[in-house]
Amino acid sequence: MTGEHQTLALLLFSGFVAVTLEITTWVSRRRHGSAEEFYAGGRLFSPMENGFAIAGDYMSAASFLGVTGLIALYGYDGLLYVVGFLVAWLVVLFLVAELVRNCGRFTLADVVAARMSERPVRIAAGTSSVTVSVLYLVAQMVGAGSLVALLVGRTSGAAQAWTVIGVGALMVIYVSLGGMRATTWIQIVKAVLLLGGTVVLTVLVLVRFHGDFDRLLVAAADRSGHGSAFLAPGLKYGGSWTARLDFISLGLALVLGTAGLPHILSRFYTVPTARAARRSAVWSIGLIGGFYLMTIVLGFGAAAVLGPKTVRASNAAGNTAVPLLALDLGGGAGSTGGTVLFAIVAAIAFATILAVVAGITLASSASVAHDLYASLRRRHAKARSEVAVARIAAVGIGVVAIALGLLARGLNVAFLVGLAFAVAASANLPVLLYSLFWRGFTTRGAVWAVYGGLIPALGLVLLSPVVSGSPDSLFPDVDFQYFPLQNPGIISIPLGFLAGWLGTVTSDEVADEAKYAETEVRSLTGAGAV
């Protein structure tokens, strides 16, 4: 890429960083330091604001860069991801959003611990939440690294490493100084920028093809070299039965994982009522659905305008399809329009990563302070210190994420996100649904449900071709691969549900009828909600 690209993109991105830092200092000047404010932004956001913030949290670099790249390279098989990402929101809306808002205070563990013996459940749910968050964080960090590699034009390790460190430092500042209020505003700003950029690019693609989607598809199919097979499933996941099973596994993880993502759950605590939580979910479904429809156009547009060869030449995984498409739509390399559009898209992608990273860090620092620390600390510690712990935890998680991000630089971003979804669906969703809907659920069931999903999910990944045994795995030189699938969801999600059931039926404890009554009444009416 030329120098103009870099300068302009860096300028735009610095602008975004300046605005977000301004928001953070403005928020932190007026803060009171209460837990309510730090974890939940005072619970005073409107459904529309929260809907934008949720959309901002959810539309990560994996969707904007990764999925469009997959569509550009593999056609229809990339589109399958998008469908999973969207349909998952029905699970959130129907089963989780309102009930969690009514029952919980700050974290997932709040909902479960209300019915159970608190300490073991909090430790279990806190551990799995932090695990999911860290996996998701690493994915975003790796994405930031490869984006900068594209922008700076060299894939040198040093540039990537400094980017990962810079992103980590910024996110720690946002979260530890600004808490949920600053993070939410950053998400809103980012969502507006991302949606605006996507709309502009989509319109440009459609104008290029005279508004004829059919023509766009035909052009994409021709250019791809696969003909009409490009528009049908099977190019990426069609080969062996292992690949097909892998895809079904990923599909299950995507649709069930969203409802277990800690940073999505914690967003519902930032609105005052369950009704507002529902309306923010509806807002976010509208925004996310619209965004994904546009990414389909962008993906096929990149295939039609650039052709998969150009896309692949720039980045083998296709992660750079959208910036390249912007360059072409603006008038090609060397033209002012192309330079400007490319710089804008690169800056937006960077802003996206930064905002998502801040949201996840906040959610995981809440899990550390509110669940783990609160369960493990000495009894006489004061409530005030919990927020202090959360701020420190944000720094600690930042350091861990930076370290892992540097370590996992070679891994595929979309894969890491799929893994985070699989762990969330296996460890967090069963325990959440059981405690909301199962009268007889017990403490042992809850603890088993978490660990029974978490351990198989992580264990199967360790034994999968991702970690060892194939040329592009993390440790290509050793071979301890015993599990053929990359995504563990199809095994570990049922195991999580099974373990929860097994733990419940084998425990001597009789479920406390009155506590279930309290959970049920609170979840559906909002009585006693904070």
Partner: protein
């Protein structure tokens, strides 16, 4: 704002349901805190249920004797859970959500399985470059939007008002047993 929003719709759509029944008491519920004719009536009704239908194990004795108000606050939730109004709200929620979740999960899993196991069927052209797979994918988007709209509408019309009144009652009852402290 919430209650008036729900009320204006609920009266038209659900005359026979409990929300409709409660419509008679609607105006009174505003004054419940000060005059509470309705609050008393319901409270005594729940009290009777307490005596008859409560299983012994719901109140663990050791803890209960230590902390009187906590036990009674627990009783409130059990009583509310057993009340007809709550049962109605819950069954409305479940009657919509259970078939809804089953429908979209079956539709989604069917779509994913079809895409991986029957690519021939999915590749069948329909019109121009658009094939069955493309239509099915867009169908998933469409069904998601439709179900979102239907859920929000159902919740607004059939649950919101009744849930708000239940919340009010429950909190009043809880406050009552805790001696107005919180």
């Amino acid at each position: 704002m919430q209650s008036s929003d729900g009320r204006s719709h609920g009266a038209d759509d659900d005359p026979g349901s409990s929300a409709g029944r409660r419509e008679d008491h609607g105006p009174a519920s505003r004054d419940v805190r000060y005059e509470d004719p309705w609050y008393d009536a319901l409270g005594s009704g729940w009290g009777e249920l307490d005596g008859t239908g409560m299983p012994a194990r719901a109140v663990p004795s050791a803890r209960g004797e230590q902390d009187g108000t906590a036990v009674r606050a627990r009783d409130v939730y059990v009583a509310v859970q057993r009340s007809e109004a709550f049962q109605e709200v819950r069954s409305r929620y479940r009657r919509f959500v259970v078939p809804g979740v089953a429908a979209f999960l079956v539709w989604y899993v069917g779509y994913v399985v079809a895409a991986t196991t029957a690519p021939g069927l999915m590749a069948r052209p329909v019109a121009g470059a658009v094939n069955v797979a493309m239509l099915a994918g867009l169908g998933q988007f469409l069904s998601t939007f439709l179900l979102t709209w239907a859920y929000a509408r159902h919740a607004r019309l059939c649950r919101d008002r009744a849930a708000l009144e239940l919340r009010w009652d429950t909190q009043e009852l809880t406050r009552g047993v805790q001696g107005g402290a919180s």
